[in-house]
């Protein structure tokens, strides 16, 4: 499903020097599986997730999603791929505070390939129902607990039934109990929709819940 080949990425450091963040990184993640990327802060895992999510581009190397090479695609084509193939869950939830839970989930259907209004409604309600928030559709983020907010974010990530769900520290802002529930929900819901899930985490216990763990140390794989 996802195939990275010799990916390199570097940034300008504070003194103007080049800092290699990802070094000749290759990996193949099969469709329908779950994978965790473990690593310390600064190991390059978020950069890798950004490249996997087409939010950033590598300096060199190739990246295939479902067999399609994406490095040469235009902004419009990349945006379309993000909308149709990818779903994102973030540590900070990224819910729009002035919108209700329903409207936040609906945001994912407002861009990319258009979805008719009636179909949109059923997709949003179905997605919210799947994460157990059918009775919270009109609630604003501030009226929801942290766990509920992350469930809204998961509903938003899954509403288009993407082929890939990318999660960046999805439990980083949650307590232990809630983390457990959210991870279970994320993995179950993604699997129910047949999505490949790649999760960045620093928590080994969360990583153990996935099919495969990739350990990133200073931009390179430590072990698979």
């Amino acid at each position: 499903m996802l195939r990275l080949n010799s990916i390199r990425k570097s940034f300008d450091g504070p003194k103007g020097e080049r800092v290699d963040v990802l070094r000749d990184l290759s990996v193949h993640i099969r469709a329908g599986t779950t994978a965790a990327i473990l690593g310390r802060s600064g190991s390059g895992k978020s950069t890798l997730l950004a490249i996997l999510g087409l939010l950033d581009s590598p300096d060199s190397g190739t990246y295939h999603i479902g067999g399609q090479e994406v490095s040469g695609l235009s902004d419009v084509a990349l945006a379309r791929l993000r909308s149709t193939h990818l779903g994102f869950v973030y540590q900070r939830f990224f819910l729009l505070p002035h919108l209700s839970a329903y409207e936040n989930v609906e945001t994912a259907l407002q861009h990319g390939i258009p979805v008719p209004r009636r179909r949109r409604r059923s997709l949003v309600l179905e997605s919210l129902d799947q994460v157990g928030l059918a009775d919270r559709t009109t609630h604003r983020p501030r009226q929801l607990s942290g766990g509920e907010q992350q469930r809204v974010a998961i509903a938003r990530a899954l509403v288009r039934t993407p082929a890939v769900v990318l999660a960046d520290e999805p439990t980083g802002a949650l307590d232990e109990n809630t983390s457990e529930q959210v991870i279970t929900l994320l993995l179950t819901a993604a699997k129910a929709r047949g999505a490949t899930t790649v999760m960045v985490t620093h928590d080994p216990e969360v990583a153990m819940r996935t099919d495969r763990t990739l350990h990133l140390v200073e931009g390179a794989w430590a072990r698979d």
Binding site: G53, R82, A108, Q110, H111
Partner: protein, 372 residues
């Protein structure tokens, strides 16, 4: 979507909207007053010079009588309106604090010089001989007196004449108007006097009026003094107004520019707090173009909202301030074209103020924002 986003940032959106209002009002007022001022100035010019599209020439006073009668009779064949004015008839009106010059006339005066009738009625062929017309300056001078005396030339002939009508002829000096035939019946026409002939063909085309007058002057052998001139009141007024309007419009546009800078400033300030939202939308599949359109649409909405507020304020202020000052009447409707112009200008100002924020929004570094 844009309206909802705007509501979410109500305070900033309101500030941006208000920053445009003054500039848009200024532009609307310039547009609206230019129309009223033009109409007023054209009307004033027509009162003094004759209706737009007329032709005029001076002829010797010798022509008064059979030659001018033939000219006036030509109307029945061609439909052209013809009137004669003898300004230096030598006749005067007395009875007030000073003597008032009497202008003798003949023909379709109101058709070629649309005097504003303030009271009474303009003498027609049937009413001629029953009185005199005075302008409002003369009326104020004679204080509505009756038993006024008029005398022609150096003669001692005097007549008691009632005033049958008061008009506004656009003049600042007192004037009285008397049918020439009535004047001629009681005094010898003065040979040195000159007659101003004013002609207007039904089409209102000044060039045709000139041609008409030239042809009839030739046929009737009118002793012309000078050349035939077209009356182009509107063109003259437009020349006068062009510079004034441009100056006022310039001031209005500077005020509008300040408003645009306000929208730009607020738009840029808002981008920082919207970074999360914009990056999120990009991650959900919005293209750079979508983000640009989103931000630009919000600015245009702000501009349109500002222009609606400006139009409402302009309509409320228009009658008491502008219309009354320009025309002396509050019964002047607010021109719809100025309102439409204001909304268009507001939308464009919003778009101009939102362009740079929109370009910057499209370049939001998604990965950096999502990682932060």
């Amino acid at each position: 979507m844009s309206a909802r986003e705007l509501r979410a940032r109500g305070g900033r959106a309101l500030l941006a909207c208000l920053s445009l209002v003054i500039g848009i009002i200024a532009v609307i007022f310039v547009q609206a007053t230019a129309g009223v001022a033009r109409a007023e100035l054209i009307h004033l010019a027509e009162l003094r010079q004759g209706r737009d599209g007329s032709a005029t020439v001076s002829v010797s006073g010798d022509a008064l009588g059979s030659q001018t009668s033939r000219l006036l009779a030509s109307k029945s064949n061609t439909g052209a309106d013809v009137a004669l004015f003898v300004s230096d008839s030598g006749a005067t009106l007395s009875g007030g604090p000073s003597t008032i010059p009497i202008i003798a006339f003949e023909g379709d005066v109101m058709a070629v010089r649309p005097f504003d009738l303030i009271a009474g009625h303009w003498p027609t062929a049937t009413t001629a001989g029953s009185g005199m017309v005075v302008n409002k300056v003369a009326w104020e001078q004679i204080a509505g007196g009756s038993g006024l005396l008029w005398k022609a030339g150096k003669g001692d002939l005097a007549r008691h004449t009632p005033v049958t009508a008061v008009i506004d002829d656009g003049e600042q000096d007192p004037r009285a108007y008397l049918p020439w035939r009535e004047l001629a019946a009681h005094a010898q026409p003065i040979a040195e006097s000159s007659v101003r002939v004013l002609v207007r063909v039904p089409s209102g085309d000044a060039a045709r009026s000139v041609e008409w007058l030239r042809w009839h002057a030739s046929v009737d052998q009118l002793p012309m003094q000078g050349t035939i001139e077209p009356v182009n009141a509107a063109a003259g007024v437009d020349d006068q107004l062009r510079i004034v309007t441009a100056a006022f419009l310039g001031v209005g546009l500077i005020m509008l520019l300040v408003g645009v800078l306000g929208v730009l400033n607020i738009g840029l300030a808002t981008l920082k707090e919207r970074a999360d939202e914009l990056a999120l939308r990009r991650s959900l599949g919005a293209t750079k173009g979508d983000i640009m359109v989103l931000v630009l649409a919000e600015s245009v909405l702000i501009g349109c909202a500002g222009s609606l507020v400006a139009v409402l304020l302009a309509v409320a202020m228009y009658r008491p301030l502008v219309a009354a000052a320009l025309s002396g009447s509050t019964d002047v409707p607010f021109p719809l074209s100025a309102a439409i112009y204001g909304v268009i200008v507001g939308g464009l100002a919003g778009a101009a103020g939102g362009l740079i924020p929109a370009l910057r929004a499209a370049r939001t570094p998604i990965a950096a924002v999502m990682r932060a």
